[in-house]
Symmetry: D2
Subunit: 334 residues, 4 copies
């Protein structure tokens, strides 16, 4: 079994910890969190050892994987150090909010040729991934349009929003990455973005100069038109749909529900249940499935679906979108 150290034991770290515990190929040895009392929660639950300093994990030769699920601002430093110690690295998205830090990290770690996987969970969602395979197999002919709908049930709390980097870097970065995944070798060359604020959440979002609704249009070098329709709230749950349209067909990756029950009564017919309300439920399977790639990366050096460069390029698009919004025009990507 592959021995892992997990950095960060907040909400998302705990979820990753449980997945690592359940996964047949991993053994969670250490858990580090800047708040040691958090890390200790892993001891009974996941039978891991809480450590007060992360260096312990880096120096332990049995540890093959450093799994970074700590706050965004700490990602780059952990990657630098883990690379130095020749560990396989998993890092949650986004890599960082600052492009320069990413670029300088990239240069620095180059000499270690580290094995790095980025936590873009959409790439591992069975539905979204089925679209990827179908596009590659030309099941819909030539790809022409990608349309993503992504609506969160409600905005995150203010404390989260303050450091999240805004709707483009925090939320839509997933959609930028998914589009890049589908486009493969066909890079984005144009980005256009517009936003709006219409609901009660405006007050909250204005405090951090963020937006409630966004529509982003991208065009690839070959001419694929991509649309992202996002909202920070959604009355019926976590709406996550992807549509890909090609010359020979169209595929939609639809929403998942807790069960496939349909109700018909005086009010209407074939009503399905509310959507799952939380991203960790919606992408539960994806979070688990990405561990298979991490195992393969560690043992067989097999490339994961999302690597360091994917983390880098998704941020480039996030920044371009913010710029388009400001200048009210198309931003070209080199």
């Amino acid at each position: 079994m592959i021995q892992v150290a997990l950095f960060g034991f907040g909400r998302i770290g705990q979820m990753h910890g449980e997945n690592l515990y359940k996964h047949p190929k991993f053994k969670l040895k250490y858990v580090y969190d800047k708040d040691y009392s958090f890390a200790r929660k892993s001891e009974t639950k996941l039978k891991a050892k809480a450590i007060k300093h992360y260096k312990i994990a880096l120096k332990d030769k049995d540890i093959k994987v450093i799994f970074i699920a700590s706050s965004t601002a700490t990602h780059i430093n952990f990657i630098r150090e883990a690379a130095t110690y020749k560990k396989t690295i998993f890092c949650e998205k986004p890599l960082d909010l600052d492009l320069d830090k990413i670029i300088s990290c990239k240069k620095y770690i180059k000499k270690f040729s580290p094995k790095i996987q980025i936590g873009f969970n959409r790439r591992y969602d069975p539905g979204h991934y089925f679209l990827k395979k179908s596009i590659d197999q030309k099941k819909i002919g030539t790809l022409q349009k990608i349309i993503i709908t992504s609506r969160d049930p409600a905005p995150p709390p203010l404390v989260y929003l303050k450091t999240a980097g805004g709707i483009f870097k925090d939320m839509i970065i997933h959609d930028f990455d998914l589009i890049r995944f589908y486009l493969k070798n066909d890079p984005i060359k144009e980005v256009f973005a517009t936003t709006s604020d219409l609901s009660e959440y405006v007050t909250l979002l204005k405090k951090v100069n963020d937006f409630e609704l966004a529509t982003v249009v991208l065009k690839s070098k070959k001419g694929v038109l991509c649309t992202i329709n996002n909202a920070r709230h959604c009355s019926y749950g976590h709406d996550q749909r992807v549509e890909v349209f090609g010359t020979k067909g169209m595929l939609i990756s639809n929403n998942k529900r807790e069960s496939e029950v349909e109700l018909s009564n005086q009010q209407g017919t074939n009503s399905k249940k509310k959507l799952l309300n939380f991203f960790m439920e919606r992408y539960q399977e994806a979070y688990y499935l990405q561990l298979h790639d991490l195992a393969d990366l560690t043992i067989k050096s097999k490339l994961p679906r999302a690597n360091f460069d994917d983390g880098h390029q998704a941020l480039v698009l996030s920044i371009a979108a913010a710029k388009s919004l400001k200048l009210k025009k198309i931003i070209k990507i080199n």
Copy 2:
């Protein structure tokens, strides 16, 4: 244009009258109703001539089609007379409630070899008919099961129920006929029926010795198992579904709605509108489409989807079902 006389101008007669008026191949010349004031309503609306005696229509050589939409008890006599006058005949279902009357009529009209179409509208519903074609084209391999769900929005009024002949002869006769249509040359050999009464409608239905809920199971000579799930009421509209299952696939003819709108909110997602609430809306298209067959029968002597014998055999099954209910066992059909 084919000149037609319509007998019966009640609710269903009026609907047929409008369809004949709109249809490019027919000209509605006469309307007869035992209540002359009813018939007169057709004059302004459909530009037909109301007649006080139906013989006028029979004797008019320009009249090619007698269209019988009067009350059930009058069907057989009208058929006998129209046959004598060598008219093409359309007759609403059921032919009659009395098997002997049907058999003796059959013998009598034989010498006139009349062209007769029976108004089994299900056979003309685009969805239900698509299943028929697919079965014949072996799209689902060997047919193995037919499952019909038929639920009326609410029971008819007492005055109608009194002469309707009960759930098997009035309502389920449509389903018996549809099963016979799908089975083609494979006759039904066993019938089993059970009923129940659980709702507030019991009081009404008991007055006429009728039932609220029925389940009928039939088996064909080749071994196709057929199930009919009926109810006299349905909170969400007129539920009309047909499922056919074969060795290589399964087809469902689903419910139609006024529009294809789906609502998602706090209560649920993808909720469609209530089903159409009335059989004349649900089968509106079927009622019109069966006129094409009537035109072809009149002009080209092309056999219609449902003929006199189909009317006869459907009643045989209705009677067998009632008998099975009484004896609590399977009834064999010769």
Copy 3:
């Protein structure tokens, strides 16, 4: 019955002619077409009188409605003349391709206060219209997003494309109008458009400087974000969907099919039939339903869903979209 003269008896004129013939409130008296042999086809079929000069209809005092279904370039003149003769006017979309001609016509006809209805059929589609009513009734709370998908089965022939005015004025004008319908008193203030060409149809479309794929983003004064996803071809039929998203819910007006059959077999499950392949089938009901408004406009002076100004404003947006495409930036609407 309201006496009507139909101008233009090509493909769409013939369809309108049949609807007028079937509609209980109209009597089609005259049909005019610049090609008299075309007009004559109406004589046997629709029992109308073909006329060699349209003035005959204008001068006939019994004629209450002039129904304009001739080629786009003739619309404005017919409107001017019909207004002069105090007729109620129905005119197919688009009013014209030239904004100046529309504006000058508007000024000219003002003194006659003519009753005019424009043929924006989407407004009469039962599904799309249900969304309109639901928005107005605040069923989805505050409207925030409108997302239209519109994909034609295949591009029109070259001869049509030559005079059609391009994808924005010919095809997307329907979507601009529908968005205006939903937004009601909240005008569009920003338009952004991008296009692409990726399939075999490029050769055809380049001949007329037209585009295969388009994405248009609009923002209303209040902040509603609208997206239009169009394509000139679609392998699975005529894809016509509208989604409206609000603070309290979301509604989708989905595609219609010939029947509600679903197939399950080795290849997949619950596969529905191909979409209707032609706009006159897809919007058949809408084309008929808009005649009810025309009758009410004529008799009761009740305002129709789409009037002259709607025809005007939709063209303004079409022109803005073309400009945005050229300048690669947002175009502001005053």
Copy 4:
């Protein structure tokens, strides 16, 4: 953690073993199988101890739960012994194929008042269970009809069929149990069954006097009509649907798929993926969820959804159905 011994480590035993291993409340200590080499497979995989005699587990006081997943013929004896040792018992369905053995066991174990849960997984399927809760909460008014569709992808192999007890005791027993679950305190009073054989599988099934297709109709004391539509094969996967119809509404628990992807192309639209092909995939979640009940039964003596008597009564219905088939009439249940 609750210490468990698992008896039987064949296909289904291994699946239960993995679930017990993953479940936070259980510790799998022993695995027994009559074939010791099978049991040993659990040692590396699940970190359990393979034992050569099951008595070791019974005698170990730390073992609180005996989990019986061995072949049907061994169930009753294991239950007797485990009851004697005061263990909490989980036993896979069916309890036994012989009613007398069940009744005599019931008498014998009575003095130990054992805590027993039966493995009727349908009761734990999130969709099917949602129907149960909704019925109890009167969400559909008075329950009137239960309609179950259950189609296996393909018949089991001959070696399995030989000891399985036939379609009523092996397969439809699940549906009988589910109906009893929904009916709660309203017992079945009438059973009618019919079968058929139409496909290539007839040869295989005839060898064991078994059937390919079955339709069973049941009526409860209150008058609820229940229909079971089963097939031993299904071209599109494992079709598992439940419909419950009441005076105020209708609920359908639909099929689950690996992902919610829909394909539209020349062949059709909105085609979903093939259904899951294996019962252990289809009811994966249910198998896991029933362990929560087992933990509660062990620790809190909270009654599980299915107990010994449920196992008993489901077999009573299976036997009645076989009898009805033979006598071609309704069988009454006391």
